[in-house]
Point group: C2
Chain length 466, copies 2
């Protein structure tokens, strides 16, 4: 009747199917305005469903305004409800069948070793965060983040990095990326000074939000702060502890010069401290923020140290832009996540973070040393490792027989043929091409066997006289 | 020596205290450039710490560029490192002592009943999400949200609301607010049509992001779509199922007219469906999105249905703006949270959401009926409840002896004196003041005793001839 059919295999109830089809026929025009509907008894019989279902469907459509009942006359389709949606509804294309191919072995940077994730400790903290949540914890969390987490982060930053700050200066964000996107947005379309080379996803955040970017070259010791244009800027984005991806650590002298330059051009400095926990030859380098807490925005994340899946980052905001940052966070997300933030506070308070960092530090240090030894033992002196002994990736530079830099591109191409992905720092350069002799090798999420495979393939390339 | 002292009560190690103080004295100028440092042996003796600690601190400061060792001569402070940070470091004001006062009993809307949060079921889903997470789950999650959650939301929307969509159309956001902030941002500074009255926090999102807002009045049946200005707009933001806060449900006829108007002025329609799960007199009203999936952005959230602390919302995005929405989500947050999203997928797949919704529905329906009966039984006919029988709040209207609307302000003032917070719909009006006779009463997170107290106080006010 009316072309209505029921699909016995559908997850939808008969009620839902009936309502959907009747509504579709009314807005589609095949049950035009003024049409008198059959009685619910007749409908139930002809469609083979319980009368209660028909009654419920007709009631619902009356309430929604699709049908009218005129007492003594019957139920009619209301006029004026034809609506051409313009597209075929409900046609959802099936997911394209994944074509089978073996995934390349990738040495691209950015991923921590997910095997290290401390499931037991994390689950126990999350359990307690939810189990003992009070009514405040269960409700809307403060826009700047759970207070207990901000207190815990302030303590952690003081103990591990020497940063002195209070929870009121800390804003918890959806990873470090949201912190950067917010800083790129509070000044309208700001002029931003960035290091070159630079992580493409960072560049895309600033670029995509309409920033006017000036790229400043780096050398083996970090940003060439003397080359920052004098013309004024709103933001200077730097990785002073471990320039990404080249690997330099900015010296105290250049830190002072950088801060002086930023002051002179009126810029706020964004310090992205993505891996200073993992320094292997020394204690972690002290952040720039400690020297100039009124000018430096310190950006940190638990993505590399605990898990990217948590999406918990944070920034320590100087008083001068605190109100702007907090207002924007409220505009963008209004409230903040609660349970995982409370769990992270417990994770820090109970010492799990410190224990986990120690364990991860040992694991990454071992891999770092293993890779350095492999390069020294298996490759000719034409290959040497550069950059600070820190983090989850390193840079291998290639030189020719005369000691001058040699192009790494042929090695990368040869590796690609063996289904191994590696990049050159050159791929990260934007305005100042360079480092063409470099091979970027992320070891954090690779096994020793995989690192051996990489170096063995480079050795094969060398032997062939590549 | 050098004015260095150790605080035995500090959480900082002696190493960290020594590095911090030496660095501070160098950048502060009291250890000027060129100063020859005492030998590590002497320093250790005079300061009363192990020589290993002094060696480590000096090594660290050499590596960071604060000290230089000249072979055969000693260790010197590097010149040019004096930096005036301009503020007193580390002075963190203690939190102001909270002044003791009893919190008012608030009937302001927006909060679900946190007591209903299904801790056991949620914790078991979260446990499994993390315990059985594969390496992909532990890494960076897709910018648009965990695929399994988007599949689960698509199925849920189909079963409960009749929306036909696929996971590729769904973007998981930090609550409904982030969805609105994103929509307000993808058009630059868009012209937005909004209902008036309107939730202030929603208005602030659009207003704060620089939108040009046209306010359109509502009546008891929702937005007066005939009053939408003809001049063109980018967005029309509506609550068609349950106008917030007045309570009307847009009829089929006005839905068709609204969609026609939106098409004519070239606007995308944002449908904020914040509580349609909780309809008590009928099945949930079908969303507007079903009529025009190519023009309507459907925005939903788990804040009201499961918990605000999760910060999980979503939108179903029409193909025409899908690319823009997904690009902005990537620019703002880069990646998306993973564990709680996977847990929510399990929560839906395992039927917990359906069971929880049924339980919450019973609880809210009972409170809604209880409050309606209280008003009918304890107050004079001057007070009547209006709006759809749905959601977690309702509107009580006051009339005078002649049946015309009577000002609710004196009641609200009398309640305030009894430490009870209630608002009028008038407080939510922006450009079109009205509904001065209304009292907004959120019952979702209030007990029956608290509702009785409210109505009893209104009765007292009436008896006094207020």
């Amino acid at each position: 009747m009316y072309g209505i059919t029921f699909d016995p295999e559908s997850r939808l109830s008969q009620y839902r199917q009936l309502v959907e089809q009747l509504r579709g026929k009314i807005t589609g025009g095949s049950l035009p305005g003024g049409t008198k509907l059959a009685s619910t008894r007749e409908l139930a019989e002809r469609l083979g469903v319980a009368r209660g279902i028909v009654l419920e469907a007709v009631d619902q459509l009356k309430m929604e305004g699709y049908l009218d009942t005129v007492h003594g006359s019957g139920t009619f389709v209301r006029p004026g409800l034809v609506w051409d949606s313009g597209i075929q509804q409900g046609v959802v294309p099936p997911a394209a069948a994944a074509t089978a191919r073996s995934e390349p072995l990738s040495f691209a940077p950015g991923m921590p070793d997910m095997e290290l994730f401390p499931r037991r400790a994390w689950l126990s903290c999350y359990h307690d965060a939810v189990e003992y949540a009070n009514l405040d914890d269960l409700g809307y969390n403060r826009p700047s983040g759970h207070w207990s987490l901000r207190v815990a982060i302030a303590g952690h930053l003081h103990e591990i990095k020497g940063i002195r700050t209070g929870p009121e200066r800390i804003v918890v964000t959806a990873g470090a990326s949201q912190a950067l996107a917010m800083l790129a947005s509070i000044f309208g379309r700001p002029r931003v000074v960035m290091e070159d080379p630079q992580a493409p996803f960072i560049r895309r955040i600033f670029d995509g939000l309409g920033c006017d970017i000036a790229y400043v070259p780096v050398d083996d010791e970090g940003i060439r702060e003397d080359l920052i244009p004098a013309g004024g800027a709103d933001l200077v984005y730097v990785t002073p502890t471990h320039q990404f991806p080249v690997g330099g650590t900015l010296s105290a002298e250049r830190r002072v010069a950088l801060l002086g330059k930023a002051r002179d051009i009126g810029a706020w400095v964004i310090e992205d401290d993505f891996d200073s926990e993992f320094r292997y030859d020394r204690k972690p380098v002290t952040p720039l923020q400690v020297m100039a807490p009124e000018r430096v925005v310190y950006v940190g994340t638990f993505s590399k140290t605990v898990s990217p899946a948590l999406r918990i980052g944070f920034m320590v905001v100087p008083p001068g832009i605190q109100a702007r940052v907090k207002t924007l966070k409220r505009r963008w997300d209004l409230w903040n996540e609660g349970f995982q933030q409370k769990a992270m506070a417990l994770f820090i308070e109970r010492g799990h973070l410190a224990r986990h960092l120690a364990r991860a530090h040992r694991a990454y240090r071992r891999k770092n040393a293993f890779l350095r030894e492999l390069v020294a033992a298996r490759l000719s002196p034409a290959w040497r490792v550069t950059g600070a002994t820190t983090g989850m990736h390193l840079v291998i530079r290639r030189s020719g027989p005369d000691g001058t830099p040699a192009d790494a591109a042929p090695v990368i191409a040869a590796l690609a043929e063996r289904n191994i992905e590696a990049e050159s720092v050159l791929d990260y350069c934007h305005a100042h091409p360079g480092f063409a002799d470099s091979l970027l090798v992320a070891f954090g999420n690779r096994t020793e066997t995989e690192l051996e495979r990489l170096v063995a393939e480079i050795a094969v390339f060398e032997k062939k006289g590549g």
